[in-house]
Symmetry: C2
Subunit: 217 residues, 2 copies
């Protein structure tokens, strides 16, 4: 297995946590998202992933050929089905749906707006000031985390959904990491902060952190 | 079952197609996203869905209580598990993952950037001109559709993934609808256009279209 990612990519970070929780060993290949305009735009990487985004995951298909998969949430669901040890979703249909909704409220509503390419567009094309860009970042985190904090009040235990780690935690932790990096005040979100602390009792989360990666600089 | 949505919401549109394909009857409740600043921000709706977004879906749990679910992709996956007629995902793990990746390349990479609340932020807070806002819209469609067109070349048949309708089509059709509404030139995307035509041979897609909804204006 191979995982093309980047130490600071939240989406790659989600997949790293999943691999660690499941005890799977993938070769981590660094795609530098900034250097030289971004290696994700190179011809060879674009041939692998036309979206020119990380992560890209490679496993083998039943004939031993490369099976190339994009989109972190699809990769995580794939890992959970193909390698069922340490399940990342509850077993009942309604609980599973609730966990996916939590995960997607981050993956579809917060992260896409604060992604590198979007921040670059704000600066480079819309000529938005650094201050306004920072406000944009904080705005979408605040919108998303306020709603999530309310939802977690109904379903969180030690983690986002009860006392087992799920895909919701895999999305939440990288998003909190980013929020901290941009100096977002997290005191209005006590449940979110508690889940951060609890996840960081686990090696799978600790070892997946950006600063622990070989390409961190 | 109840579906809180809005005729022009792409995310609600996805769920309407899924309900139609599965022959499920849900009460459609309109949440006007624009009138009076947006009914999704009302106290009663925010109590149901703290994200203040549509859709919200309500089914019954095993005890007959209301089961409230947010996030269109979680709703669609829930419908597919709970009501397995007319499956929306292939049966093998790798094919399922590939379909989810296609769907998420729209749901996570295109749609969130062109959502109403984002366009409102560009106008109201960043004071971006209508022309620059229109370019923003076109930019993310072009980025997303160019990559998708390449990926579909490997896997599309009559629909996005072979000859059966999947969740990828449920995401693609509302996104094309939006692109057409914003006058995006679709001629560079022949596969995407072919899938639009093929889906519109099916009543499930025709009847889910925005203009067919009771709250269309």
């Amino acid at each position: 297995m191979k995982l093309y990612g980047y130490w600071r990519s939240s989406a790659a970070y989600r997949v790293r946590i999943a691999l660690n929780l499941k005890g799977l060993d993938a070769e981590l290949i660094s795609v530098h998202l900034v250097k030289g305009g971004g290696e994700q735009h190179s011809e060879s990487y674009a041939a692998l992933n036309p979206q020119e985004l990380v992560p890209t995951f490679i496993d083998s298909d039943q004939d031993g050929n490369a099976f190339v998969l994009t989109q972190s949430m699809a990769i995580v669901e794939y890992l959970d089905e193909q390698y069922p040890q340490a399940p990342l979703l509850p077993s009942t249909t309604q609980a599973k749906a609730s966990v996916r909704a939590l995960a997607l409220s981050i993956a579809c509503e917060i992260h896409p707006l604060n992604n590198l390419r979007v921040l670059q567009y704000l600066s480079d094309t819309l000529k938005v000031s650094d201050e306004a860009k920072n406000q944009w970042y904080h705005h979408w985190i605040a919108q998303g985390f306020s709603a999530l904090e309310q939802q977690l009040a109904h379903c969180a235990g030690r983690y986002c959904f009860g006392d087992s780690v799920t895909v919701a935690d895999l999305c939440l932790i990288p998003q909190i990491y980013n929020a901290k990096r941009f100096n977002v005040d997290l005191t209005p979100y006590p449940t979110i902060c508690r889940i951060w602390d609890n996840c960081h009792q686990l090696d799978a989360f600790i070892n997946a952190a950006p600063e622990q990666q070989a390409d961190a600089s």
